[in-house]
């Protein structure tokens, strides 16, 4: 039997997206006896402070990634094209290293008797408590997700026609005006996808908060993990939390896309 590409797509999506989603929905709306209930969803409300903290830390690291990533992406786009590929590769290089290993490396740097505190004590400064703080979690998020911010912004900026910049200069725009009136508005699509690509994994991470945040920085990801792998085994609550998280992420992406559409004309994006 010959399968059409569309048939392969449908089978794939059914097996790996629709059925798992249906299972999450099923668990979220049933009790251990298999009866329909809204209790799980209602119980999610008890963890609202963890939700808020996750969103806050995720948003904070997204903003930091943007503040670091945009200038970096812009700088790379300005460098001689010969070196641009090498620079992009260097940005991506840590991503090819195991995620766990990267985060573990930060542990050894930030620990109470880790590298930083050793250096500090050798020059006579009192040790700092760096690990197991929300700051360490944000650092871990920024470090791990920064490339996802840089790459989409870079790929949009390099595609901006140099003549458009020259036209703005020609009409009297200095460096600042060129940035605020031309470069920034034209790079919004890259910023939007950068924000999405950093915020979504940051808000749902559990490894980073577990390894760098200690017990006091539980995030949604940790909460979900506990429902499936921990002592408080409860796949029904776990599914409900996942569902609520997914809906929150969908809403935030929806808001982003609306912002995207209103600020840049769609034709330009589809033509380029």
């Amino acid at each position: 039997m010959k399968l059409k590409p569309s048939a392969i797509y449908i089978i794939w999506m059914t097996l790996f997206t629709l059925i798992p989603m249906a299972l999450v929905l099923y668990f979220a709306f049933t009790n251990p006896m298999g009866k329909f209930t809204l209790d799980n969803i209602i119980n999610v409300g008890r963890y609202s402070s963890i939700f808020l903290k996750s969103i806050w830390l995720g948003a904070l690291s997204t903003i930091i990634c943007l503040l670091i990533g945009y200038p970096l992406a812009y700088m790379i786009s300005k460098v001689n094209t010969k070196y641009q590929n090498i620079m992009v590769m260097l940005i991506m290089l840590p991503m090819w290293m195991n995620f766990l290993l990267r985060t573990y490396a930060w542990m050894t740097i930030l620990e109470n008797n880790g590298i930083i505190n050793n250096i500090l004590s050798s020059i006579g400064i009192a040790p700092l408590s760096l690990i197991n703080t929300s700051g360490a979690v944000v650092l871990g998020m920024v470090y791990n997700f920064l490339p996802y911010m840089i790459l989409p912004i870079y790929s949009i900026i390099v595609k901006i026609d140099k003549k458009i910049i020259e036209a703005a200069q020609d009409l009297g725009a200095g460096k600042r005006k060129v940035f605020s009136k031309i470069l920034l508005p034209l790079s919004i699509p890259g910023i939007i996808s950068g924000i999405t690509m950093v915020f979504v994994p940051a808000v749902s991470t559990f490894i980073i908060s577990k390894m760098l945040g200690g017990g006091s920085n539980i995030l949604i990801g940790d909460l979900i993990e506990m429902q499936f792998l921990g002592n408080s085994y409860n796949p029904h609550l776990g599914s409900a939390i996942s569902l609520v998280l997914m809906i929150l992420i969908l809403i935030s992406i929806g808001i982003m896309n609306r912002f995207d559409r209103s600020s840049i004309n769609e034709d330009y994006m589809s033509h380029h």
Binding site: E166, A167, D170, L171, G172, A173, N265, D267
Partner: protein, 381 residues
Amino acid sequence: MSKDSIISLKNITVSFHGQTILKDFNLDIKDGEFVTLLGSSGCGKTTTLRIIGGFVKPDSGEILFAGKNVNNLPAHKREVNTIFQNYALFPHLNVYENIAFGMRLHKKSEDDIKEQVTKMLKVVSLPGFENRNVSSLSGGQQQRVAIARALVNHPKVLLLDEPLGALDLKLRKDMQTELKNIQKQMGITFIFVTHDQEEALSMSDTVVVMDKGSIQQIGSPQSIYNEPENAFVADFIGESNIIDGIMRKDYLVEFAGKEFDCLDSGFDKDEKVDVVIRPEDIEVSPPTSGHISGVVTSVTFKGVHYEIIVDIDGFKWMIQSTESQNPGDTIGLILQPDDIHIMKKSKYSGEFGDYSAFSDEMYEVYKEKKKKNKKRVGGKK
């Protein structure tokens, strides 16, 4: 520098990556003129424009703007505006905001901006297009928005970098007329860059013919066409037969084995010269009644005329005639004194003017063939 020069380039030299683009380049542009820089790609015409616009810094030399040195003035502070080859409109702004861009930077009032933008849209025949997306416009409309965006700032000089290159033939002709009218109406200096000689001749007050980073000739379209200074100009502007000749005395030149009366004087006795004869000036006659004669090697119908290639002692002449001829026939050519233009020998002598081929590339191929044939003949002897 003459008093009324708005822009003067003095001894400008520019090179990129060790390659010289402009060499000791000098040019004065008069206020209110329509000047065209004409040349093939790589001749330095766009670089000249970018130097004036402030996008390229010369290695040496001076750029004067109404007598003032502007070498170190950045692009955004110069009183010139540019129309770029591919328009370079701002894709995230609509037509109104594109045109208002410069005025907003100069902190003009909203009322003033509105009045000027509306006026400019009328000038470029796009009234009512304020709220259109620039990407929804045709090439010609985008072109006109680019013109309006530049002119609304009332620059002293407008720079145009092959602005009509992307338009189709008919639209290009309309835009030529429109640009010329706008220039007259606004009375500002236009510096126009093109590789299209017809465009240059039909629009300009002054044409600057360039090759390999230096000026070959500056003059009115008529003088450039009728009195080219060297073989490059004669070949680049229109079609030309360029034949080796000897100036026997004033008003008498010898070429193709005959002596001809001509209108040129002031050469040394027996000075070697290049003789230019335009294909449309040559009259065809029966072989016996012509000044010279040759064998027709090819005839091509061109619509307005036939393009006839005639072999006269191994040199291929081009004739444009409304009457066709048969290849292989011998015909005569009649040359009147005012058909003949004499030029001094230059480094371009011998490079152009023989119609064995039209392009340099094919001409090389033919030359090689000729050489081989000669060798074969020589060997037999």
